[in-house]
Amino acid sequence: MNVNPPNSYRVGPDEHGRYGIHGGRFVAETLMPLILELEQAYKDAQADPSFQAEMDTFLEHYVGRPSPLYYAERLTEHLSGAKVYFKRDELNHTGAHKINNVMGQILLARRMGKTRIIAETGAGQHGVATATVCARFGLKCIVYMGDVDVERQKPNVFRMKLLGAEVIPVSSGSRTLKDALNEALRDWVANVEDTFYCIGTVAGPHPYPEMVRDFQSIIGKETKRQMHSREGRLPDSLVAAIGGGSNAMGLFHPFLDDKEVEIYGVEAAGRGIDTGLHAASISGGRPGILHGNRTYLLMNDDGQITEAHSISAGLDYPGIGPEHAWLNDVGRVNYLSATDQEALDAFQLCCELEGIIPALEPSHALAKVVELAPDRPKDHLMVMNMCGRGDKDIFAVAEHLGVEL
């Protein structure tokens, strides 16, 4: 799709929650008043300096921000091309970027007087982050999780339970993240009075994609500042993995108008785009409507949503955030994909060279760093978002490597 480039890539969404043709508010009437209430509450919070001050305090002292910008020296030597940096969001409390957004939404829920928090989760990172912050503020927390994911992410399920959350396995549809989202929406429809739906990614009806992006943008803002103090200039390229796309949007958004910065989003190609067993909505899907927004989706010719496949439960979603869909249409971000095998290889490389066990999600981004960096000059600064740590994935990786634990 070819669209004339806008003057700024950072002004979206419009008043209808649209990014080009994408985004919007495709929800049942029951939810519409809640979405409008949320939009207003978020606007009020943004205009209130005490909200940002409270957020900053918790991000520093509870989450552990800023996260380091780390020069991956041995990986750089190994690839002998671009100078590779990791944005270390896996060092946040709970081990992933997810808590940046959860902290924002829970503080907002408190302002709105909501007492019951619901969330969906795939890999379990968003569920753990939500359970964590709910425990911190004494809020009731219910997490919906596909029963396939409950099985492959047992450590995170136990973590959520330790934190006092109720984990509800979802056995409808493909029993993964998309079905967890359906169930969370159904819960919200039935419990509109006291419930706040804490969505984990830059998708869903407006204002979620914008709100989650804003809360995650701390990643890119810090990166910009840190790179300036380390190298005295902007990075030359950014690379991040994409399921729904919140870690990527958080890194990318502050750089969108720095047109000299190349930006790469990496979708999960599963067993390969041509096998049909993948989670690459942009590379292998087309625009449609699901979960409150229009965006690229995996579907059949009748508009029925098809299952996504990825070794990484966090990327196993048949859609992508609507702002990513638009950034693809206008050509600002390059969307690539990495297979399960490429991600596994990158996972092992990172363990061996850097002493960092990455989550399988950023391993997809790392796989493309391995591909892109060797062709770049030595003074090319490449930043990859290390958005989660891999402790949760060691069982899945062991299985793929044929190791019995």
Binding site: H16, G24, R25, F26, V27, A28, E29, T30, L31, M32, P33, L34, S172, G173, K178, D179, N182, L185, R186, V189, A190, N191, V192, G288, I289, L290, H291, G292, L297, M299, D301, D302, G303, Q304, I305
Partner: protein, 281 residues
């Protein structure tokens, strides 16, 4: 906007008769095309006044387990939008009076193509559409083109639709208003009759359109209760469950399947018709 549809005529006639409409929902292609057609063809004689046909979708976020399961049964048999329209054409060949409303989610229509869908639906004999995930904020997508093509666009109003928002919801609504009587997904909680009556009165302060009430109606008694306070009673999950409960162990339909569904419709119709309403109301 074009002239009156079968929906408008039907509600006007029932108003003159002094009774409420029984609006029945079944999912197209559930449990298979032939049985589904048999059920739909039998609905008018069993007492259905308006027929809602669900267009199956993999991710029906506002529906409960019963209707999601019925969608998956139909999709599992290869049902699609073309077959739903074929079902309507076959019904229309024998019945030119009973209004038909297609109910579903936007994505299959969007992928079929909005203009093509509206023209094919109209030609097949569809009278109105209910598309659950298109609130007034998205009217340009399908609602306005549907009205322009002479179809009714029926909107859901819910307990969360307050007096401030109701006018927005009712603008561009035609045919009837579908009041969702309880907060939640289809087929779960049952409605409280007095609350429903009040809610219908509230909606009627904003519109002259008929108001049909649904979500959670399972028995003839409940149907009669709703019929005393509303212009129509919508029954869906109970019928879809009757399909499910009358399949054999392999999930295959037999002669008992459509018979059981239609028997339940006759009971519900008895409940609705037992209540006489003032024609002048």
């Amino acid at each position: 906007m074009s002239g009156a549809t079968r929906i408008d005529h039907r509600f006007a006639a029932l108003r003159a008769d002094g009774r409420a409409a029984l609006v029945t929902f079944v999912t197209a292609g559930d449990p298979d095309y032939a049985t589904s057609l048999e059920i739909i063809k039998g609905l008018p004689a069993a007492g259905a006044d308006v027929i809602e046909i669900g267009m199956p979708f993999t991710d029906p976020m506002a529906d409960g387990p019963a209707i999601q399961a019925s969608s998956l049964r139909a999709l599992g048999k290869g049902h699609d939008t073309n077959k739903t329209l074929q079902l309507v054409r076959e019904f229309r060949a024998e019945d030119n009076d009973t209004p038909i409303v297609l109910m579903g989610y936007y994505n299959p229509i969007y992928i079929y193509g909005v203009e093509r869908f509206l023209s094919d639906a109209k030609a097949a004999g569809v009278d109105g559409l209910i598309v659950v995930d298109l609130p007034p904020e998205e009217d340009d997508e399908l609602c306005v083109p549907a009205l322009n093509s002479g179809l009714n666009f029926i909107r859901l109003a819910t307990p969360t639709t307050d007096d401030h928002r109701l006018p927005r919801v009712l603008t561009n609504t035609s045919g009837f208003v579908y009041y969702v009587s309880v907060l939640g997904i289809t087929g779960t909680k049952s409605p409280d009759i007095s609350t429903v009556t009040e809610a219908v009165a509230r909606i009627k302060r904003h519109t002259d359109l008929p108001v049909a009430v649904g979500f959670g109606v399972k028995t003839a008694d409940q149907a009669a209760g709703i019929a005393s306070g509303a212009d129509g009673v919508v029954v869906g999950s109970a019928l879809v469950n009757a399909v499910r409960d009358n399949l054999d162990d392999a999930g295959v339909a037999g002669p008992a399947t459509s018979a059981a569904v239609l028997a339940l419709v006759r009971q519900l119709a008895g409940g609705v018709k037992s209540v006489t309403r003032s024609a002048a109301e």
